[in-house]
Symmetry: C2
Subunit: 312 residues, 2 copies
C-alpha cells in the first residue's frame, strides 16, 4: 500500500538520506516497489524478522535509534548465517499511538546506521500506528556473490564445531549493538568449506539443536572450550546461575556457529581468517540425534536446548 501523509513525510525524509542512483538500487523508496540490481546472478536470498517491545527490546533501556539498528542487524545476521552478501532491505514500523514523528525518525536513523555500516540500503517501508507496543521489522534481500549459501543441514558426523566471539549475557546491552558477522562469514566461507552454519539468536544450546535437527546428527560440546563473555560472568554474579549456563543458553549473541570437516578445522586452528575476533573449537558432530555436554570434570551430561522461547 501507499504511504499516508505523515508516513509520506517520513519517507521523503528517508529518501533524502538514501543514496539513490547507485547501481544496485535503480529505484529506491517512494514508488510501489523498489528495484534492485543483482549483478546478473540468477538467485537471491530473502529473510524477514520482526522485533516487538517487551520481547526483543525494552524502551526503558533502549533508545529508538538502537531499536532501529537492531531491527536491521538481526536480518543482516541471517545473511551472515548463509554467508550471503546483503543487497537491500525494506522495513516496517508499528508505532504506538501518541509517539511523535521525531521518535519515528530516530528509529529510521538507527535503521540507517546499520544500513550504512553494512552497505545494505533501506529501499522501502511501511508505517502503521495504533494502540500497540512498538514493533519494527525488516525483510532483507541478499545475493550469493560467488559463495554458495551455507545451510543448516549439511553437518556430518566427524565435523568440528566452531563459534565466533564470546557468548552469553547479551541482554546486558550487546543485543542492541552487536555486529552481524556478515564479513566474517564470507571470509570463513572463502577459507574453508562450511558444511553447515547458523547464527546464534536463541542461544547456543537451542541453535545447535536446530542445526543438528536439520542435519540429522548429534553433537558433543566441551564445556571448557565454550567462550564465556565478560557479560555472561556479570550476569552470573547477578543471578547466581553458572557463567557456562549463560554462555550456553542466553539468546541474542548473534555470533556464528558452524561445522567443518577435520582438515578444515586444523586449517582454521592453525590460522584463523578472522582478525580480532575469537574463533573457538567447541566440539564435534556425532552420529545419532543426541546433544551431549562434556563437563569440566570429564563427565558427560545431556545438553538440553534451553534458549528462550517467546511464543508458546
Amino acid at each position: 500500500m501507499k504511504p499516508h501523509k505523515g508516513e509520506w513525510q517520513l519517507i521523503n525524509w528517508i529518501r533524502n538520506r538514501t543514496r539513490l542512483g547507485c547501481r544496485r538500487v535503480p529505484l529506491g523508496p517512494g514508488d510501489d516497489m523498489a528495484i534492485l540490481a543483482l549483478a546478473r546472478e540468477d538467485r537471491c536470498l530473502l529473510t524477514v524478522d520482526a522485533l516487538v517491545e517487551g520481547t526483543h527490546f525494552d524502551l526503558s533501556n533502549a533508545t529508538p535509534r538502537q531499536v532501529g539498528y537492531k531491527a536491521l542487524a538481526v536480518s543482516l545476521s541471517d545473511a551472515a548465517a548463509m554467508a550471503a552478501l546483503p543487497v537491500a532491505a525494506v522495513a516496517w514500523v508499528a508505532l504506538p499511538e501518541g509517539r511523535s514523528m521525531a521518535f519515528a525518525r530516530e528509529i529510521s536513523r538507527g535503521l540507517a546506521d546499520a544500513a550504512r555500516r553494512f552497505d545494505c540500503p533501506i529501499v522501502g517501508g511501511d508505517i502503521v500506528s495504533g494502540r500497540m507496543p512498538l514493533s519494527v521489522g525488516t525483510a532483507l534481500v541478499a545475493r550469493e556473490a560467488g559463495i554458495r549459501p551455507v545451510r543448516r543441514s549439511g553437518a556430518r558426523p566427524g565435523d568440528a564445531l566452531f563459534v565466533t566471539g564470546d557468548l552469553g549475557g547479551s541482554l546486558l546491552g550487546r543485543h542492541l549493538s552487536f555486529v552481524p558477522r556478515v564479513a566474517e562469514a564470507r571470509r570463513l566461507a572463502r577459507a574453508v568449506r562450511l558444511h553447515a552454519m547458523i547464527d546464534l539468536s536463541d542461544g547456543l544450546s537451542t541453535d545447535l539443536a536446530h542445526l543438528c535437527e536439520e542435519s540429522g546428527v548429534g553433537a558433543e560440546v566441551e564445556a571448557r572450550a565454550v567462550p564465556i563473555s565478560r557479560n555472561a560472568r556479570r550476569a552470573a554474579r547477578a543471578d547466581g546461575r553458572p557463567p557456562l549456563a549463560h554462555a550456553l543458553d542466553d539468546g541474542e549473541d548473534f555470533e556464528l556457529l558452524f561445522a567443518v570437516g577435520p582438515k578444515d578445522a586444523k586449517r582454521l586452528l592453525a590460522r584463523s581468517p578472522l582478525k580480532g575476533l575469537r574463533l573457538s573449537h567447541i566440539g564435534r558432530i556425532i552420529k545419532g540425534r543426541r546433544m551431549t555436554l562434556l563437563g569440566m570434570d570429564g563427565r558427560r551430561t545431556p545438553l538440553e536446548p534451553r534458549g528462550w522461547e517467546h511464543f508458546r
Copy 2:
C-alpha cells in the same frame, strides 16, 4: 532470527504445505534465509506492507483467514502496480497474547490461499506475540519477466487516465477478498505503453495525487466517467454522502490507475485486453500541478485528495 518452539511447529506446518523443490524456490522456509531463483534476470523488485487490526481490518467482521489473504494480496497489488511478476514472499505475524495456534494457522491458510492463487509461495516468516492487536505483514520479491517496471513518475500532459474495475465502498467487504490485478497489469503492459501506474489503496483522489506529484503534472477527472461500484451506492445510502464521493475517496479498491498516450488510449478503447473487467477512461493528465474534477453539470472544481490517512 530463528523460530521459537510454537513458531517452529507452525513453520513445519507451513513447510509441509509449501511446494518445495520447485525450480523457483531452491530453498524454502526453515533455514536462515530462503533462496529464490530469478531466471537469470539481473533485477528484482521488493515491497513490504503491514496490516494492523483496527486500521486495516476488524476481527469482528473478518476471519483470520481473510486477514492472511489480504496481507499477501496488498503486496501482490504493489507488484501489479509495477506490472511485475511475483516470485515469492515472506510473512510475519504479531499475534495477540492468548490467541491459539489454530488462529495462527488460519492466518497461514489465508496467506496460502493468496500464495496459491497468484503463484507466489511464502518462503519464510517470523512470529512474535505480545499484548498487541493482531498485525500481519508481507514482503514480496517480484521480477520483471520481460516487462519494464511501470513507475508512478512517467505521466505526461496529454496522457489519458484509466482505471480498472469499479470503485468505492470496499470496506463493505471487498477489501478482504479483492483480486490483485497482477495478470491484468501485465496484459495491459503488453498491449500498450504504460507511462505511469499506481494501485488504488488510499482512494482514487489520493492515489492520483501521488501519481501527479511523482510525475510533476496535474490531472482532470470527469465525474461521469468514474466507475461507481454497487458497494459505493450502498455506502452512500447508508451515510448520505454521494456515491461519487465514495468512488473518489474510499480506500482499498486495489484497482489500477494508469496513464497512456492518446494513441494507446484509442487502442484500449477500441479493444480492451482485459476480459470481464471494466476499463474506464476517466480523464487526462494536464500541465501544472492542479487536480480538477469536471462535474456532471460541466463545472470544474478542485479535486482534493481525501483518501484515508491512518498515520498523523
